[in-house]
């Protein structure tokens, strides 16, 4: 069954039709939230809430449009609100007091993955709107058109904003992340 049919059935209240759509997009939604929040538990909360809110408002969704940009837009918005909420600061405090903070498992010999995490740290130094566009375009590998749809801006605006963000990122990398410069001549 194609996505349009599943969306139409889900919009009519068919919960079973919603499940394959969640399965199809849960990874992208979770990963965007994780990139924006840096915490797997928070990202899981946001991902769940994204699909619940989308379910509640499916009737207003144009079923002929692809679902993923809309879901990513909701996920990004909820993540941004979560970043600003007091609860997040409290969560951060609680995490700081954990005896063994949760760490991202890294393959021991994976220099490339270390590079990717260094790049993530560099991107985190950008303003949030710049982070968001870099995550969508490069980390989630969305085409320009889909990035534009997530951010509700024109494709030309995506390109100009990306250009400015990359300029800032290049400076940050050269200044603070020599590992990336040495390893890849970025």
């Amino acid at each position: 069954m194609d996505e349009t049919t599943l969306i139409r059935r889900a919009a009519q209240g068919d919960v079973a039709a919603w499940e394959p759509l969640v399965l199809a997009h849960q990874q992208a939604v979770f990963r965007l939230a994780y990139l924006l929040l840096g915490d797997a538990d928070d990202a899981e909360d946001i991902a769940q809430e994204t699909f619940l809110r989308a379910w509640d408002h499916l009737k207003r969704f144009d079923e002929t449009r692809p679902l993923r940009p809309w879901l990513l837009s909701i996920s990004a918005n909820l993540s941004r609100n979560r970043r600003r909420s007091a609860g997040r600061y409290v969560s951060a405090l609680v995490r700081a007091f954990r005896e063994q903070p949760k760490e991202i498992p890294l393959d021991e010999d994976s220099a490339q993955r270390t590079e990717a995490n260094e790049l993530w740290r560099a991107v985190q130094q950008l303003d949030l709107p710049d982070q968001q566009i870099v995550y969508l375009r490069y980390f989630l590998d969305l085409p320009v058109a889909e990035t534009a749809e997530v951010l509700q801006i024109a494709e030309g605006t995506v390109k100009s904003r990306l250009s400015r963000a990359l300029e800032k990122l290049r400076k940050i990398i050269h200044q603070d992340f020599p590992v990336l410069v040495e390893g890849r001549e970025v």
Binding site: D41, W55, H57, S91
Partner: protein, 269 residues
């Protein structure tokens, strides 16, 4: 290295990102969609966070200087108002005399008419239908049924381009440079709005709930963590809260009329 090479390198490195395993989102979502689900919109650990916050704030309020500083502003929803004087920051409903600052007649005070140019610098203009689609996951957009001939807004803005704050603008039919009404619909946790030293502040009620009436001119600062801008408000403003949404009705109308407009809000068709 050229921009294209730099982009290619970014793509290549970012693809190696080591994400945590994606949890069983589908299973949890489907279980929450069953009829006997737990209350929605409660994040994991939310209650614990709230308790810690309440305890923390209560502890702070025990310290006299902190309590004094905290009480120097008035908070309603996401709007924080810094009164002109901390001696008597707000008129209570019992003692307030609206006539002291509102013209005695229902005729709008022309000197306080907000201008379209104040709002036209805002980005994110949409049609009403587009705005409804954008913000639908977060809140409905209501429209006033009073005055009965008001109709749909002339301009609709969705700020932040991701469904955060909606601004509806109705123009004066006799002078389309003047704004008859603008209704700001702001969800909890998205924007913070600070008003500095309004001429007059008064407590009132909308649908039986606490509301605040403020009179310009005063600087109004919007911030949401990413953006921060200030504009001068020259009109009357009614602020009230329903659920997680803060409403801000800016107009040239006297308080009683503004309250009627506020109480007439109904879901848009």
């Amino acid at each position: 290295m050229s921009d294209v090479d730099f982009e290619n390198q970014l793509h290549s490195i970012a693809k190696q990102m080591n994400y945590p395993r994606t949890p069983d989102i589908a299973g949890r979502v489907m279980s929450r969609l069953q009829p006997a689900t737990k209350p929605r919109f409660i994040f994991k650990g939310w209650a614990r966070s709230l308790t810690l916050i309440v305890v923390f704030i209560f502890s702070l309020m025990l310290i006299p200087p902190v309590r004094a500083a905290v009480l120097e502003f008035i908070q309603i929803g996401i709007v924080r108002i810094f009164p002109r004087s901390t001696e008597s920051p707000i008129d209570s409903p019992q003692t307030a005399t609206p006539q002291s600052f509102v013209p005695a007649t229902a005729t709008p005070y022309v000197g306080f008419y907000p201008l379209l140019s104040d709002l036209s610098r805002l980005a994110g203009e949409r049609t009403l239908s587009q705005a409804q689609d954008l913000v639908a996951p977060y809140y409905p957009i209501p429209l006033p049924a009073y005055p009965s001939d008001l109709g749909e807004p002339d301009h609709v803005f969705v700020q932040d381009a991701d469904g955060s704050m909606t601004i509806l603008v109705w123009l004066d039919p006799n002078d389309t440079e003047k704004v008859l009404l603008s209704l700001h619909i702001v969800p909890e946790g998205s924007w913070a709005i600070h008003k500095s030293e309004p001429v007059t502040i008064q407590e009132t009620q909308v649908n039986g709930q606490r509301a605040v009436w403020a009179v310009g001119p005063y600087p109004l600062r919007y911030s949401n963590g990413d953006l921060d801008f200030t504009r001068l408000v020259v009109g009357y403003v009614l602020i009230w809260v329903e659920g997680e949404i803060t409403y801000r009705l800016e107009s040239a109308l006297p308080m009683e009329e503004a309250i009627k407009v506020a109480e007439s809000l109904q879901p848009a068709p």
